[in-house]
């Protein structure tokens, strides 16, 4: 996957503050239920799993199904505990991954 990921993580936060994280990646999320021009089924190709790690620990994840829109967007919250890196991983049907990361400074 060479898709472009778009993430929103605040650069700074107070310790204990709840911060909103938004993550989106470019992906067709082909359902496998559609028919192409020549009448054949378009094979399924979706992102199955999204995971977010904060300072190496997984703090949020999602199992996705074909009912998630193309270019899947997920927004959630995290408690700012320590300064570190927040990493995002999207895994598709073929096991290919797309990653993104952002640094957060906690004061």
């Amino acid at each position: 996957m060479t898709a472009r990921a778009l993430i929103s993580v605040p650069k700074t936060a107070m310790r204990g503050e709840i911060v909103e994280i938004r993550a989106m990646t470019a992906h067709p999320m082909e359902t496998g239920y559609r028919t192409g021009l020549n009448g054949t089924n378009i094979p399924r190709n979706i992102i199955r799993r999204f995971a977010c790690t904060y300072d190496g620990e997984e703090v949020f994840s999602a199992d996705l199904f074909p009912a998630i829109s193309a270019n899947p967007f997920i927004a959630f919250t995290l408690i700012a505990t320590t300064s570190g890196t927040i990493e995002f991983v999207w895994t598709d049907d073929d096991g290919k991954t797309q990653t993104a990361s952002a640094d957060i400074t906690v004061t």
């Binding site: 239920y33 028919t35 829109s69």
Partner: protein, 161 residues
């Protein structure tokens, strides 16, 4: 057409056996299993998620627009009432639909580090239907909320033309 007219040509009544056969053939066509209909029902999908545990109403709020113009991207937000502490938090939030080709929409895994039990995403709706969100708390209880949407442009099963 009155009974006194000669019955021939276009107006010749169909023999009863033939009519019966046509009727049965029609029924068979109507009841052909379609992919979209062979999916587990909404209740079955929730039962698989909960493992058969009782699902109570409340503590969860599912926000879904009541009228959807484009079923390809419907914004949904699920919020669960929980202090989100190490001992009392939301473990999972599952979203299920009634009439898409697959009953599952997404399962979100949360924990005490989430801070708030709130998740937003964009989903596809194949037709006007009910969507259900179920939250699993750390004490093993399940709470749910449902919302209905009317969809004018369907998603998932449309053909590329």
């Amino acid at each position: 057409m009155s009974g006194s007219q000669p019955t021939h040509g276009y107006f010749r009544p169909m023999p009863r056996r033939q009519l019966l056969a046509a009727g049965i053939a029609g029924l068979v066509v109507i009841s052909l299993p379609r992919r979209a209909l062979s999916r587990p029902s909404l209740e079955e999908a929730i039962r698989i998620f909960t493992g058969g545990a009782e699902v109570l109403d409340g503590r969860v709020r599912l926000e879904l627009p009541p009228l959807v113009e484009n079923g390809n991207a419907v914004g949904v937000t699920v919020t669960a009432e929980s202090p989100m502490t190490a001992t009392d938090h939301v473990r999972r939030i599952g979203v299920f639909n009634e009439k898409n080709p697959e009953a599952n929409v997404a399962v979100f895994h949360l924990g005490p580090r989430s801070g708030r039990a709130q998740v937003s995403t964009r989903i596809r709706l194949a037709t006007s239907q009910t969507v259900v969100a179920v939250a699993e708390m750390s004490d093993g209880s399940f709470w749910s909320s449902r919302a209905s949407a009317i969809v004018t442009l369907a998603a998932c099963i449309e053909d590329l033309t």
